[in-house]
Amino acid sequence: MDDGQLAVTLLERFTARLPVVIRDVESAMAASDWSAAAAKAHRLRGEAANLSAIDLQAQATRLEAALRAGSLDEAAGCLPALQSAADAFVRSLPLALGQIHTSCCEATSRR
């Protein structure tokens, strides 16, 4: 698999799981399982960073820090921003996939 194909596969996989991941974080918080919630936020942050989803990464980082610091009100306050960063990411996906496709085609035609 070349880099372009891999990027497309991973972006699609990440996007498909994103709603479940956010729901899992919310459920853990609703169940007052703060360490599980922090672990899930941590993983989301890492994956977002790997895929250069900068805003999503920043919001997940804020949430994780608030959860680890035990600032529960602040953590709850992070959720709307996280959700809107996730929505923005999903909206921008077609554009990102299009750019990957174009750069792959350019790379192929240059060969």
């Binding site: 698999m1 880099d3 891999l6 596969t9 991973l10 996989r13 990440f14 672990a39 941590h42 993983r43 942050r45 890492g46 994956e47 960073a49 790997n50 895929l51 250069s52």
Partner: protein, 360 residues
């Protein structure tokens, strides 16, 4: 190199795998510390890259486990989003060798893996060289400390000789390291000497002694064959000089070739002193160990005939250190036989090391 990667995120695993495969590495990927541990027990990987934060067995705990159960050195790289010296200290204390901050840069990843590869190959090379020497030695020695002492004596002499003007430019840290690594091989050719001669309790006849002397040329031939395969392996060339020439004498009366003075490679002249010192200060079936003073007298008397006078002069200055090594590494009885598992591990390590050495 075969690398084990551990990350609970399939996305991170896929990215790591892609980057490592591009660098020509063979990759096994697992999503938990527990699965990684199963691989570690098989002892297949010399390099592990693990995420730090994982549910269950995390990267730190995995690293501690690896240090506890691995029979050979495993280079361990922790992947982390943590920055700061506290985290580095925690990681290093758990036994990690290096860190990569996420999200990683593929070029940096490959460079760090390359560093790990070099360190692992050096470590296992030294181990294999020493183990080969021990196998050869195990036939005719009752104890196993001889090689350890000889390499320490040789290292000591070489380091001190660095400050002797006559040797300036010929001796450096690399030389000292090489003599330490390869001097244990000095009698490797004894593997080719029949038991009837090697283990004979009494005095050898002149015919038998002639055969015994061939251990120098037999050993040199073994290493020459290895050098044909790996002509750039400096340590093999160095070992060959020691093996072939450590029974030459400064005045040209030694064997196998009757070389004299500077014709004898410097490393062999150094090992000659170290080997004779150890032989004299060790117990033999036919005599008790000599004292340091008696041995120093013998070596001093051999200055200019048996030994290079410059090396003897340095040896005499180092009396205290020689005494200390002799005491610290005194012989103890060896187990009756080498167990099969150890030989098997050794054979596997040897195969690994040769394949590592073959990489330019």
């Amino acid at each position: 190199m075969r690398v084990l990667i551990v990350d609970d995120s399939p996305i991170a695993l896929a990215l790591l795998k892609q980057a490592l495969a591009k660098g020509g590495h063979q990759v096994d990927a697992v999503e938990s510390g527990e699965e990684a541990l199963e691989w570690v027990r098989k002892g297949v990987h010399r390099l592990i890259i693990s995420d730090w934060d994982m549910p269950g067995l995390d990267g730190l705990a995995l690293c501690r486990k690896v240090r506890e159960i691995s029979t050979h050195y495993v280079y361990f790289i922790l992947l982390t989003s943590h920055r700061g010296s506290d985290y580095i200290v925690t990681g290093l204390s758990a036994g990690a060798d290096d860190f990569i901050v996420k999200p990683f840069n593929p070029e940096e990843l490959l460079l760090r893996v390359h560093t790990g590869e070099r360190i692992v190959s050096l470590e296992s090379r030294d181990m294999v060289v020493f183990a080969m020497a021990q196998l050869a030695e195990s036939r005719d020695r009752e104890t196993g400390k001889h090689l350890e002492r000889v390499r320490k004596y040789a290292q000591l002499l070489a380091r001190r000789l660095m400050s002797v003007p006559r040797f300036a430019g010929r001796l450096d840290d690399r030389f000292v390291q090489l003599i330490y690594e390869t001097s244990p091989l000095h009698d490797i050719g004894k593997v080719g000497i029949p038991d009837a001669i090697l283990l004979k309790p009494g005095r050898l006849t002149s015919e038998e002694f002639a055969i015994m002397r061939t251990h120098t040329t037999l050993g040199a031939q073994m290493l020459d064959a290895a050098l044909e395969k790996f002509p750039d392996a400096e340590f093999l060339r160095f070992a060959r000089d020691i093996v072939a020439c450590h029974h030459e004498r400064f005045d040209g009366s030694g064997y196998p070739n009757g070389l004299a003075g500077e014709q004898i490679p410097l490393c062999a002249r150094i090992v000659a002193v170290a080997d004779v010192y150890d032989a004299c200060t060790s117990n033999r079936v036919y005599r008790a160990a000599m004292t340091h003073e008696e041995t120093a007298q013998i070596i001093s008397d051999g200055s200019g005939t048996h030994f290079d006078p410059a090396i003897v002069a340095v040896f005499l200055e180092l009396a205290d250190e020689f005494r200390r090594i002799c005491r610290q590494w005194a012989d103890v009885a060896l187990p009756a036989r080498v167990d099969d598992a150890a030989v098997f591990t050794l054979a596997n390590t040897a195969v690994d090391t040769l394949s590592l050495t073959a990489v330019p």
